[in-house]
């Protein structure tokens, strides 16, 4: 729902994705403190993000590659991030 020239595919929730899946971040929203932390760690709009690892037992937390780094986060926080497929 970025409403710009590239019509977004169905937005996906990062929190529900699995290893090897990824796309461009189109929205980061949720509790203010969580959003700020996500942004500070590089989860900004337009960045490409991909899930590269899932922890043992319940596939939570996940490790994502974003802005040249590897970031571990729980699915609960990842759910604040909406992406569209590349």
């Amino acid at each position: 729902m970025t409403g710009r020239e590239s019509p977004p595919d169905t937005p996906l929730c990062l929190g529900e994705m699995h290893r090897g899946q990824g796309g461009y971040i189109c929205r980061v929203e949720g509790p203010e403190a969580t959003v700020r932390r996500l942004l500070e760690m590089g989860m900004v709009e337009e960045a490409y993000v991909e899930i590269v690892h899932e922890a043992p037992f319940g596939r939570d937390p996940v490790a994502v590659r974003v802005r040249g780094g590897l970031l571990a986060l729980r699915r609960q926080e990842a759910a604040c991030v909406t992406i569209r497929k590349a």
């Binding site: 932390r37 037992f57 802005r67 780094g69 590897l70 571990a72």
Partner: protein, 636 residues
């Protein structure tokens, strides 16, 4: 914040950077490892200060600030960095030059903080660290454009190889080498309210970073091939978990098995010195004080230096290589099950060396309830001060038979004691999070750095610092306690008409105190000598070993004891049930005044140290009671 130190009335520079930017390596390279580690007044965030020799023979003070991603502090660690920069309260004055350290392999991420720092208006330079790794991954950067766009001098550096430091030092001297510059940065202190950056501003900052990097023609780096390969195993659900268990098992086995060689050497050295003293000093009070009091007491503790060094060696190695963050990732789910944070894994793991750095490391946990829970269970991790006690009792009471392959029963029992502490810690965390610290699940976000060969120099500097602190304690607290114990257990002397066969120590003050508390500890199988040890052991857990050595050395009429002798004496005097009960007691009991003092400082009240002491003592008493009676039942 309490009274500010006045150390920095002379000019100083401050290192600021995000975690994993190689700030510590740069600090070590600049100071040559000559550093003073202490705490910020009022809080216990580590404060590292050193001197750098700059060309022209000047010396300049340098301060290493805690790593942070932002000045909008999320943790207490980050708050200290912010407060040093924004207020004059902490160091007395803001730094004269800010050296921002950025990871050259990750500019997209690390330049955000640099831009934020720039807003403060300090004189500033930017260090791009780990340039060798960045170049190898294809970093091609126009430094001139970057300098221009970011508005400060930029220095490419490889801190671990000391490359590029000369140019940096020259600039530092040019800026501050000739005394303090009177015009201080004029940032509007009063208008700086917190947190002051909205999410929109954070987004804008990252857009600015992207713009600058585009200008400076920085493209995407090649992926860190080796890190990716290693992570495919290390973070693999099955292999990664097995590897974590294997690493922990290896660490504990080696602490118990490898450390014995240097320990034997130290022990022989101490025995040698006490023989010399015995031969060359006239018998009497002085000889007894030196040999039975000081050497027996301090010696029996110093023996454990190799084990303490080893455990810190492993922890520093795991941290420096980048593995520690992976361990937190693998453990997060398990920690989450009892309501904790994967990040709590690191403070808890550090607590295996000593609960004090562990409790301090809990500052990195953002949520206060989680932080408090972590602090309250950290003392259940078997710290290195328990090793002397475990080692003494295990080698005296547990046969060293082979169980399977290289695994021996003694090592297994040791591992079991560690395990017992961990399991109880998890249970207690779960109980606390279900009751007093109930609240929503906290967030977990952790950067996983690229793997690096651990820098041996950094590891050694870290180990030496711990060794210094340990020996300082042995030389002060433990020395004093040893003398006091020697006195208490030597006087008053038995009367002339004392019956034969009753040992001298039972007449002494220590004997009387021990006897006095004996009724309270008899139900868990402890006798008066342990009673004395529990009291003196409040100074530090390992003191109980020195105390027992002193008590029985005096009782043996001044024969100096090494730990083998002591073990043999204990074997004769104590039942297996007593030994096991004491082992279990030490797994749980809060036998350390320094830890209580740190918890008091960290939580700013006496309430939590009191709670900690009471609940752990109750736990220890109960567990020992069960252990004692169950063992008695089976051994008759």
């Amino acid at each position: 914040m309490s009274a500010s130190p006045t150390t920095f009335l002379q000019p100083y520079i401050a290192l600021v950077g995000s975690p994993n930017s190689g700030k510590t390596s740069l600090f070590n390279a600049l100071t040559g490892g000559r550093q003073r580690v202490g705490n910020y007044p009022g809080v216990t965030v580590e404060r590292k200060e050193g001197n750098i020799e700059v060309p022209g023979g000047h010396r300049l003070k340098i301060l290493d600030l805690p790593g942070t991603y932002t000045l909008d502090a999320n943790t207490l660690d980050e708050a200290v960095t912010r407060d040093v920069l924004l207020t004059r309260k902490i160091e007395g004055a803001p730094p004269d030059l800010l050296v921002a350290v950025a990871d050259a392999t990750n500019l997209e991420r690390s330049l955000g903080l640099v831009l934020e720092l720039k807003e403060l208006g300090f004189p500033m330079v930017l260090v791009l660290n780990m340039m060798d790794l960045a170049r190898r991954r294809g970093l091609n950067i126009d430094l001139e454009i970057l300098t221009h766009e970011i508005g400060m001098p930029v220095f490419p550096v490889v801190a671990v190889k000391k490359e590029g430091l000369d140019a940096l030092l020259e600039e530092v001297v040019r800026r501050v080498g000739h005394g303090r510059h009177p015009p201080q940065p004029s940032f509007p202190e009063s208008t700086w309210t917190l947190p002051k950056h909205s999410a929109q501003e954070v987004r804008a900052r990252f857009r600015e970073v992207d713009r600058i990097l585009k200008q400076a023609k920085v493209g995407a780096l090649k992926p860190a091939k080796w890190t990716d390969r290693i992570d495919r195993v290390v973070l693999h659900p099955l292999w990664g978990s097995l590897l974590l268990v294997a690493i922990l098992a290896f660490v504990f086995q080696s602490i118990f098995n490898w450390a014995s060689y240097p320990m034997d050497l130290i022990e022989k050295g101490i025995g040698f010195v006490s023989e010399i003293l015995r031969h060359h000093l006239p018998g009497g009070i002085l000889q007894s004080l030196l040999v039975d009091g000081i050497l027996a007491g301090v010696g029996s503790v110093v023996v454990f230096l190799p084990q303490i060094l080893l455990i810190f060696f492993f922890i520093l190695l795991l941290e420096d290589s980048g593995y520690m963050a992976r361990a937190a990732f693998l453990m997060d789910r398990q920690m989450g099950r009892v309501g904790l944070h994967g990040r709590a894994f690191i403070p808890l793991l550090s607590s295996f060396a000593c609960a004090i750095p562990g409790i301090m490391a809990a500052r990195t946990i953002e949520n206060p309830r989680d932080r408090l829970t972590t602090i309250l269970i950290a003392p259940l991790m078997a710290c290195s001060a328990r090793l002397p006690v475990y080692t003494l009792l295990i080698s005296a009471f547990i046969p060293n038979q082979v169980v399977w392959g290289p695994i021996r029963l003694q090592g297994l029992v040791m591992l079991g004691l560690y395990f017992l502490g961990v399991v109880m810690a998890l249970i207690m965390a779960w109980v606390m999070k279900k009751t007093v610290f109930r609240g929503p699940t906290p967030t977990f976000m952790l950067e996983m750095p690229t793997y690096k060969w651990p820098n041996l120099r950094n590891v050694v500097i870290g180990m030496l610092e711990r060794a210094r602190l340990f020996l300082k304690r042995a030389g002060t607290v433990i020395l004093a306690v040893s003398v006091v114990i020697w006195f208490l257990s030597s006087y008053p002397k038995p009367p002339a008409d004392a019956p034969v066969g009753r040992s001298a120590i039972t007449y002494s003050l220590a004997g009387r105190i021990g006897k006095f508390v004996e009724p309270a500890i008899r139900p868990i199988g402890f006798d008066w000598s342990i009673g004395i040890g529990l009291i003196t052991g409040m100074a530090a857990r390992e003191v109980i070993v020195g105390t027992l050595a002193t008590v029985y050395s005096v009782e043996d009429n001044g024969k100096s004891l090494n730990s083998d002798d002591l073990g043999k004496i204990l074997q004769k005097r104590w039942s297996l049930a007593t030994a096991l009960s004491l082992l279990v007691y030490f797994v749980f009991a809060m036998q350390c005044m320094s830890t209580l003092a740190v918890v008091r400082r960290e939580t700013n009240s006496w309430r939590w140290p009191t709670v900690l002491f009471l609940y752990l003592t109750a736990l220890a008493y109960g567990a020992s009671f069960i252990t004692y009676h169950v063992t008695l039942h089976f051994t008759g």
